[in-house]
Each structure stands twice: as structure tokens, then as C-alpha cells.
Subunit: 500 residues, 2 copies
């Protein structure tokens, strides 16, 4: 290589592409010409400290001079460059782990070493979105066996930091989504931490839903904490509710989840690896997993739930976790709110034992908290839910909740969105069906979770007797445009809520 000739000067273009590393170079720059680079060539960019792989976008305008080079924000951050820094550009050595991805595309089984190579390269940023999408698709639809899922999970655990709490028992819970408003996690953390268990809860943001636990808790407190900050909160209060992304736990998961979101899929193998790698890396020992089953939930049949339960528990054992799966009712949304702020309001009502607190959300939280308390071996079988209920009704759980929020930096009261519209029944009858997917979609179109206070406030449940003009739900949005957009979807879909 003629090293010296492959140097270009960095110019800040400020192009945000999410995780993808993109490099911008003039088509008439000396490096493109001498090296034969063309659009989408994957190339290596280095400075004195580090190097990254990026996809080339070729420029034919003067936003760059021929001796300049631009980077997407993700790439610039990884290289930690400043304007006018010199960067060295070179051909990319073959990424060996892509041969494993190709093997997987052709239905081959991969071993731990192969998954570890893939996950390591993904965390390095060596995969383009095209490669990531192929890896996710090749692993979807029952294409990974149980050993492969265990190996992928182990590789994902090994790819990031691993926390150690120096406690014999560290509990956690997770819900296999698909059920709008089912925001039990903050309640469970408050109850079991009040009980005295250690529950350092890391959550993800929404993948394909209108809110993740991290999105909801961000309404009430800070969720973006460093590992050190999380440690301090948990040592002080026994629990936390933070976003898992910044903690560098299973960092490959954060990359893969964004591609799954773009594809709007969530396959079994990736799902198990995603959930259990986060739990194990967070230092958990005992985990309860909630699988709601319903025609329009993520898991649609008891058979699928039992298979997933079996796989979850098997992979759990393989990676050293004590996993208990609880299959629950997933036929309708839980609580009244759908969207970060609206769900936060439900949570506070339950914690404060308010008269209009959503009972279904409370009961589900008590069930899961009870299962965790039993799994930890601290109370006898059958006494868990009762113990949880005492902690909630006595106000101890609410006190613990506020204490954790304050330890995380703030407790803010939720504020409703400015734009809203009430949706009323067009006829009388019995409420026969709520389509979880469509009502979630409606909440997303109103702006959730990016717009925190957007979403839906449900006023009805399955089997309710409905009179014409009864309030079914209220749509909230932070802009008139989003409200109109959601309304358009609602008006063109008459099967979101079915009354007969």
C-alpha cells in the first residue's frame, strides 16, 4: 500500500444514520481513483488510535473538497474525530465472520465460535445494514435450534460488560410484549425491592410497540445511567429501572433490535437471546418471564407459548439462569394508557392505591411480583402474591418507587399531550374484540413512543356493554398533523374495536 497517499482531511457533515457507519468521499478524490473504490464499497478508515469499517457514499458535489472526507455521526463518534483531523483510508480485509452468515443463510448450523465471531464483528460496527438484515432473517422462523440459541445468547453476553452485584440472589422479570399498556415492570421492581430483594432492572426502548418500559419510565425519571450510577442506585435502594443501552450490556442486541424494528419482526431465537443475554449480563440469577397469549398478542397460541417457555427455560439453564415462565391472558390491552406518559399515569394510580387505578394492571403486577418472591425461595409456594399485595396496599411499594426515581436523579409528574380527540361508539352492543396490533399501530401513528405524551387512553374492556356514543378511547398527540394521521388510520380501519 502507498500509505501516505491515502490520507484525507475530515470535514463535519453531521449526517445521522443511526448505527450505520457511512463514509463520504468525492468520486474524483485521489484515493477513490487510485484504489478503485466505488459506491457501497466497504472500506477501512483509521486514525492514530483506532479504525472502523464503513460503507462508501460517493459525492459529486462541492459539499466536500477532493482532499476531504466526511463520516456519518455514528462513524465520527467511534473514531472520535475533530474537523481537519487526518484520516487514513484503506481496502478492507475480508470480514471472515460473514462466511458464517452465508452458511446460516444456507441453513447450516453454527457453533459458539461462529456466533461469537459474528457478534464481535457486529459490536465492532463491521457489518452494514444489509449484512445485519441478512443475519437476522437467516436466524428467524425456527432456523436456529436450541443449542444455537444458547450459543448466540452466550456470545451476546460475552460481547459487552457483565455486572456483578455480590449478592446470592438477583431477580429480574421480562414480558414478551405484544400487549399494549402492559407496563407491570416498574410496579414489580417497586414491590420486590420493597420486599428486600435486589432487582437491577434494565429495559429496552420500544422495538415495534408504542412504548417500552424505558420509554415509559423516562417520563418519570432519568433512565440513561452509566454502569457506576446504576450500581449506586441499586446499592442504595435494592432496585432500579434504567435503559439497558448505555450500560453496555449485550451491546449487539441494541444494534440488532434497530434492524428488527425496521423489518417489523421479532423472531424466537433473537428474542430469547436478546432477553436472556440482557438478564445474564445484568448479573441476574432468578428471572420470571411473562408470556401473554392472545389472537393479536405477539404469542398467539398456548402451543407457541409452551414451546417458547420450554426454550426460554432450557436456554436459561444453559447460560446459568434460574428462569420461570408464566403464561398469561393476552386477549386485550392491560391498564388504560397506551403510550409512555399515559402508561406512567396508570402506574402511579396503582402505586397510590387510587380508586380508579386499573385493576387488571395491578393484579398482573402482583402475580409477577409474587412469582419472583416465590422463585427467590424466601416465602413458601402460594404465598407470593399475598406478600406482594401487602407491600402495595401498605404504600411501601410507592415509597420505594419514589426513592428509586429520586436516586436515578428526578421524579417528574406526567403531563398529558396538548392535542386530543374522543372516539365514541357508533352503535350499541357488547364489546367483542380489541385488536392489540391495530390499537398499538394507532398509538404509534399518534406519535408514541417518540412523542412521549402521545397515545391512547382506553375507556372500555372486553365484554363491556356499550351504548351508542359511549366514550371508547381518547387519542392524544403532540401535533395536529400526527393526530390527523392517526385519525385517518382509525377511520379507515373499523375492526380496531368490535362491538356486536
Amino acid at each position: 500500500m502507498e500509505e501516505n497517499s491515502n490520507i484525507l482531511k475530515y470535514k463535519h457533515l453531521g449526517i445521522y444514520t443511526q448505527n450505520e457507519n457511512v463514509v463520504y468521499m468525492r468520486e474524483d478524490c485521489h484515493v477513490c481513483i487510485s484504489e478503485g473504490f466505488e459506491a457501497l464499497t466497504r472500506i477501512r478508515i483509521s486514525n492514530a488510535n483506532t479504525s472502523i469499517v464503513a460503507s462508501l457514499n460517493v459525492l459529486n458535489s462541492d459539499i466536500l473538497l477532493p482532499n476531504e472526507i466526511g463520516l456519518s455521526d455514528a462513524a465520527a463518534k467511534k473514531l472520535n474525530v475533530s474537523p481537519n483531523d487526518t484520516l487514513y483510508v484503506s481496502h478492507l480485509e475480508p470480514i471472515e465472520s460473514l462466511s458464517h452468515v452465508r452458511a446460516k443463510i444456507y441453513n447450516k448450523k453454527l457453533d459458539y465460535k461462529a456466533y461469537n465471531n459474528i457478534i464481535t464483528d457486529i459490536v465492532e460496527g463491521d457489518y452494514s445494514n444489509i449484512h445485519l438484515s441478512a443475519f437476522i432473517t437467516a436466524c428467524a422462523g425456527d432456523r436456529m435450534d436450541i443449542n444455537e440459541i444458547s450459543d448466540l445468547t452466550k456470545a451476546m453476553i460475552a460481547s459487552g460488560k457483565q455486572l456483578n452485584w455480590n449478592k446470592e440472589i438477583v431477580v429480574d422479570k421480562h414480558c414478551i410484549g405484544g400487549l399494549p399498556g402492559n407496563r407491570t415492570t416498574p410496579l414489580v421492581v417497586a414491590i420486590v425491592a420493597a420486599y428486600g430483594l435486589t432487582m437491577p432492572k434494565t429495559s429496552s426502548r420500544a422495538i415495534t410497540s408504542p412504548a417500552g418500559t424505558a420509554d415509559t419510565m423516562e417520563v418519570l425519571t432519568n433512565v440513561t445511567l452509566s454502569s457506576e450510577e446504576i450500581k449506586a442506585v441499586v446499592e442504595k435502594e435494592g432496585g432500579c429501572f434504567v435503559w439497558g443501552g448505555t450500560a453496555q450490556l449485550s451491546p449487539a442486541d441494541d444494534v440488532l433490535i434497530k434492524i428488527e424494528k425496521a423489518l417489523d419482526i421479532d423472531s424466537e431465537g433473537q428474542l430469547i437471546a436478546s432477553v436472556l443475554s440482557k438478564k445474564a449480563a445484568a448479573g441476574s440469577t432468578h428471572v420470571v418471564i411473562d408470556i401473554p397469549v392472545g389472537e393479536t398478542a405477539k404469542v398467539r397460541s398456548t402451543e407457541m407459548a409452551e414451546k417458547l417457555k420450554n426454550h426460554m427455560e432450557t436456554v436459561g439453564t444453559a447460560v446459568g439462569l434460574n428462569v420461570k415462565v408464566v403464561v398469561t391472558d393476552g386477549t386485550q390491552p392491560v391498564g388504560r394508557g397506551i403510550g409512555p406518559t399515559l402508561e406512567a399515569i396508570d402506574i402511579l394510580k396503582v402505586l397510590k392505591n387510587e380508586a380508579d387505578a386499573p385493576i387488571d394492571l395491578m393484579e398482573r403486577a402482583l402475580l409477577l411480583a409474587g412469582e419472583l418472591i416465590e422463585l427467590s425461595g424466601k416465602v413458601e409456594k402460594g404465598k407470593g402474591t399475598e406478600t406482594a399485595k401487602e407491600l402495595l396496599t401498605s404504600g411501601q411499594a410507592y415509597e420505594k418507587f419514589l426513592a428509586i426515581c429520586k436516586a436515578q436523579g428526578r421524579f417528574s409528574k406526567p403531563v398529558l399531550a396538548r392535542y386530543k380527540i374522543e372516539i365514541r361508539a357508533e352503535k350499541s352492543g357488547s364489546l367483542k374484540r380489541i385488536d392489540n396490533r391495530k390499537i398499538a399501530k394507532l398509538a404509534k401513528l399518534s406519535g408514541a413512543p417518540q412523542s412521549k405524551s402521545a397515545g391512547i387512553l382506553l375507556n372500555v374492556h372486553l365484554n363491556d356493554k356499550i351504548e351508542k356514543d359511549d366514550l371508547l378511547f381518547t387519542l392524544f398527540a403532540e401535533s395536529q398533523g400526527e393526530l390527523n394521521y392517526a385519525l385517518e388510520y382509525k377511520n379507515s380501519h373499523n375492526d380496531i374495536i368490535t362491538i356486536k
Copy 2:
């Protein structure tokens, strides 16, 4: 929607992303804020005439003003915009065909309607690279049955123009690549056109190889012709050798092939659909397909070749083509040259009956031309090769070749690359093995096919007696950097050519 507020002014940024539609907007622009757009949101961009879907890249620098909007070259071309044109930006209605892609990811069978919806949206440019990669991966590795392959093929035929030659018999041939230097197509066209058959040959550029037929022929003549120009050439000369891309034949194929190239895969279903959709759309009636079999060819076993032959012939019948598959020897490269210019030189030597013309290339071209002549029913079985040979040795094929080149706009003599290095045997022995994949990779690293005259000139064949320091091959490159890069690969892989 508040239509009037969603208007931005186009600024030329000149960012070339291959096929992908990318839109650039300031994060603080009024549209991003009011509509809640964020990075990678898929949005619709419209002007008075048409509209496209694009992925958003959010800008935080002043290469755009807040009221300006930029587009990747692909997107700008589809909208046919000029600087300062106003563009209207809106939320994207759901792309319904992506639900079929998700079904395919989960191993469901798709019908013609589903494939047709997918292919139509791909041609429209509605899929991001993430979606395209998922579709290709979901269809790879035996995941399509024979009916699905037929349906995909039909959908791809319907997605573009379809030529009609007003001839009872229109012949074509195709080689299932993987064999470096196997450039029989231009020879076959010249021979059968000289015989009087109609052979309007459209070829692709290299997918994962150092040269496609279109890359090679571009050394000698123009290959980028409009449908009207192709028609004129074929009417005059009976044959042509053009790139299929601009002819708008099976345009989805051109999009999919670039993603397959980035993934370095070529799956059976996509392969059959790609080949046969191009043939049918080009108006062919009789097609001979060459499948070379060898340990390091694309098809590695006779069993795989027989399966592919069976599928090719079945899908051919389903889409109305008379397909004959010929399984040939794929244990070593064919001819001497690997790379566009070097292969063009081989072709001319065969056509001119030169003393040092590569006999293997000539014999293979005669076999395939002979099969086509027999398939057309114009000579009796067993007489095809003989007929082809007469046309070649008499000079009629060469004359026809030059006539076609001139009809396509030029005949240029091939010129060798400036940088070269001779690779000699390090020991004596018998030449036991040539690794097709590694020698192709070496040719690619030297710059082929982007650098037309880069590549390899082979001096040896399997089973040759080799003395130490005998010339094995010459590496050619258009820059010292590429030559060094290829040499590095050669020096770190001692199993490209095995002498024992």
C-alpha cells in the same frame, strides 16, 4: 395533513448510494419537528409529477438550510428534480407487500399475487436495503419451492418491458457462472447469428465474479443500448450482446443483484428467477443453459447440477420457455484470461482462429452453439457442433461478430493494463488443482471488473507438468495499489494453484 407546511426546497448534494433512495433533512426543519420524523424513518417525497419512498438521514450541519431538502442521486433521478424545485414530504402509508416478506421470513409459502406485489414495490423503489436483504435471505437456502420460483419468475417478467421479435424462434444461452474466464456467450452469439438464428443476447454485469459478459463485451463495443437500439441491431444482424439493465427487462433483478453482491450469495430460487425472467422478457423461446460442475465452481456436485437442471427446465416450461440444460466440466478456469479485457482477447483469438487461441474455450462455445442449433430444430440431432465448427473456422462467425459490434456503435481493440507481475512456480511437479474461487478473488482484488484491463492471464492447466520458475500466471492491474493488494492476497494463500 397540513399539505402546505410540508414543502421544502431541493438542494443538490450529489450523494451516490447506488439504488437506494435516501432523503436528507435538517433535524431542526419544520417538517421533521411537526411530523415527528427521525433517522431511518421511511417517508414519501412528491413533486407535481410523481412520488418516491426514501429513508431519512437527519442532518445537523449547514450543508442544508432548515428549509432545504437533499436526495441521493437515485432518488433525485426518479423525481427528475432540479435545484430549488419544491418537494412535498409526507408520512408513508404502510407498504403492504412487506407483510408478505415477513410471512416468507417465517417460512410461509407465497403465491403469485404476493410475489407480484413484492416485485412491483421493489421496482418502485419502495424497499430499503434492509428490506431487500431480508427478502433475498428469506428466499435463499431452498426456502422457495418450485411453484414459488415459477411465480417469482413470472412476477419479475411482468415487472418490466417485454420484447417481441415477431419470430417463431428466438434463441438464448446462459451459464451458471463460477468458472473464471468462461466467456462463451459472445462466441455463441456470433456463431448462431451467422447460422441465421435470432439471438438478442442481454447479459448482466459481474455479480460476485471478476467479469460478467456485459463487462467483457464493453471492452469491445457499446453494451448500454435502449430497447429501440437493441431492436435495430438484432433486425440488422440477427444477434446482439448488450447489458440487460438499461433495456428495462426484469428491472427488479438489477436491484436484487446488487444486494446479493453485497452479501456475496446467489441462491437457487433467485438464480433461476433472475436467469429465466431475463430470457422470457427478452422474448426468447429456446434457451440452452450451461452448468459447469466442479469442487470450486458455483455448482459443486453433479447431484446439485441435476437438481438445478430439473428446476430450471420445470420453471422454463411454467413460463413458456423451451429450456435445455447442459452440465459441463467446471474443475478449472476456461480460456486464459480472467477479467474483462483479458477475456475479450481470448474471444478474438478464437474468432480469428489464431494458433494460440484457447482450445477449451473454443470447444465449449462450439458445444453450446451446437446445442442451440439442434434445440431450434434446424439440424438433426448430433449435427449441431459440426455445423457450429464450420461457421467458426470459415471466418463467418468472426465477420458476424464484427458486424454486430459495429451495429452496436463501435469495435475497439482491447488494451492490456499498465501494471503487471509474473507469478512463477516455486517448485516442480504436476498441477493438481486450481481453486476457481480463490483465483477469481485474486482477479477481483487486482481491480476487475471495475478496472476493465485488470485480472489474470493464466499460463497453465490442470495436470500440466510444471518446472520450478515456469510462468503460472500474470497479474494485471490499473494501479500499483491494486496490484500490491492482489499480491498480498496471493502471498498469504498458497492453495490458489496446487503443484505436487
